[in-house]
Amino acid sequence: MSSLPRAHELGLIGCHVCGLVCRDVPDLHDAACPRCGAALHRRKLGSFVRTWALLIAAFFFYIPANVLPIMRTVSLGDVDDNTILSGVVELWVKGSPDLAVIVFTASIVVPMLKFLAMSLLLITAHRRTAWAQRQRAKLYRLVEFIGYWSMLDVFVVALLTALVQFGILSLVEPLPGVVFFGLTVVLTMLASMSFDPRLIWDSKETHD
């Protein structure tokens, strides 16, 4: 046994909901946490399949989210459709480069990072490699922590739609891109939640 024993080595199991340390039994079917009543699992159920499925679904929505315009601005008959990227460019040009960087990070960097990071985590965990485990664990926590900030652009479009209602003078309408983008964010959040970070440490060889 290593100096840092893991739950299964000691015949223990931690409740995923309330954290209570319980005794592991061979047949976990219908076993429930004695404290909070949640079902006990050694690892999140179907973690690989669920995470891949959600991630791929998110990616399918991510393409129209970027290609289709998210917002239409009409002023005096002049129609201007904005995509996520053109919104960032406009913010940069119109004199707020700092906010442009924030929106660029939240809407473009974070979703891309999530797709790449989650794929990397899934592939490495599936191969049960011991490569860079600590860094992978940190990468997972980063993805979990920053994930929901991507909703930023969705809220911006919603607020502008509600505010800019000056009839023919000026009008903002949401376009389908924003719906796809909102769904992408929700699906990537669900994907990172269904991944079990414990899998990172279930490598074939143990070094400690």
């Binding site: 309330c18 119109k94 607020l159």
Partner: protein
């Protein structure tokens, strides 16, 4: 439920903890002020010393509820163009999205900015109200499970940043007037940040199950 088979002896269970991120088992010890226990294997936070007691937490939740009401009834921003003024509240925004063929966005916004935060505050208030006397509220286990699942789905802080970006974008074409709602939201954001740093699971340790 075959609880007896799974249950460790109470003392043993309380002395141990398992890192949620890598399944490493640790013996618990009391943390001193300002201390944080981290996992040696994966560096995740295991436990933090909690400065705010249950009474303090309850006070914060009640404050958050008052601010939440204000943030929802007061207008957030007013735009002006040629003397015409338009302002909106959170619900004005949600209804607008619903009517403008973006029902999905309306549902997302209503959930993450209104219903989930509301559910979180009410559940937390309910649990803390009893926990300050060391008791478990009726439905304690259900309430704790709700808190566990609702946790990641509150996005008020993202909305504050979104409002800021919207103000800057609109500023180019319109006169922009921030309204009290936005300040209430900013305060709410601070309170939520404080809650987020508190692990509510410790309420299991601070309360005692009623004798069955």
């Amino acid at each position: 439920m075959n609880a007896p088979q799974q249950a460790l002896d109470g003392k043993e269970a309380n002395n141990l903890m398992i890192c949620e991120h890598c399944d490493t088992v640790y013996r618990r010890r009391e943390l001193a002020r300002g201390e944080t226990a981290r996992c040696l294997r994966c560096d995740a936070v295991l436990e933090r010393h909690q400065r705010i007691g249950t009474n303090g937490m309850l006070a914060l939740v009640l404050t958050a509820m008052v601010v939440f009401i204000q943030a929802n009834i007061w207008p957030i921003v007013t735009l002006g163009l040629n003397g015409q003024e338009i302002s909106t509240t959170l619900w004005g925004t949600i209804i607008m999205m619903w009517n403008d063929h973006s029902q999905v966005v309306a549902i997302l916004a209503a959930g993450t900015l209104f219903f989930f935060p509301l559910a979180k505050m009410l559940t937390l208030g309910w649990v803390l109200f009893f926990a300050r006397r060391g008791e478990r509220a009726p439905g304690f286990a259900t309430a704790m499970t709700i808190l566990h699942y609702v946790g990641p789905w509150t996005m008020n802080e993202v909305f504050v940043l979104g409002a800021l970006v919207a103000i800057v974008k609109a500023h180019v074409y319109f006169d922009v007037l921030p309204n009290p709602g936005i300040f209430a939201y900013a305060v709410l954001m601070l309170l939520i940040t404080i809650f987020a740093s508190v692990d509510m699971r410790r309420l299991w340790d601070l309360t005692e199950a009623p004798p069955a």
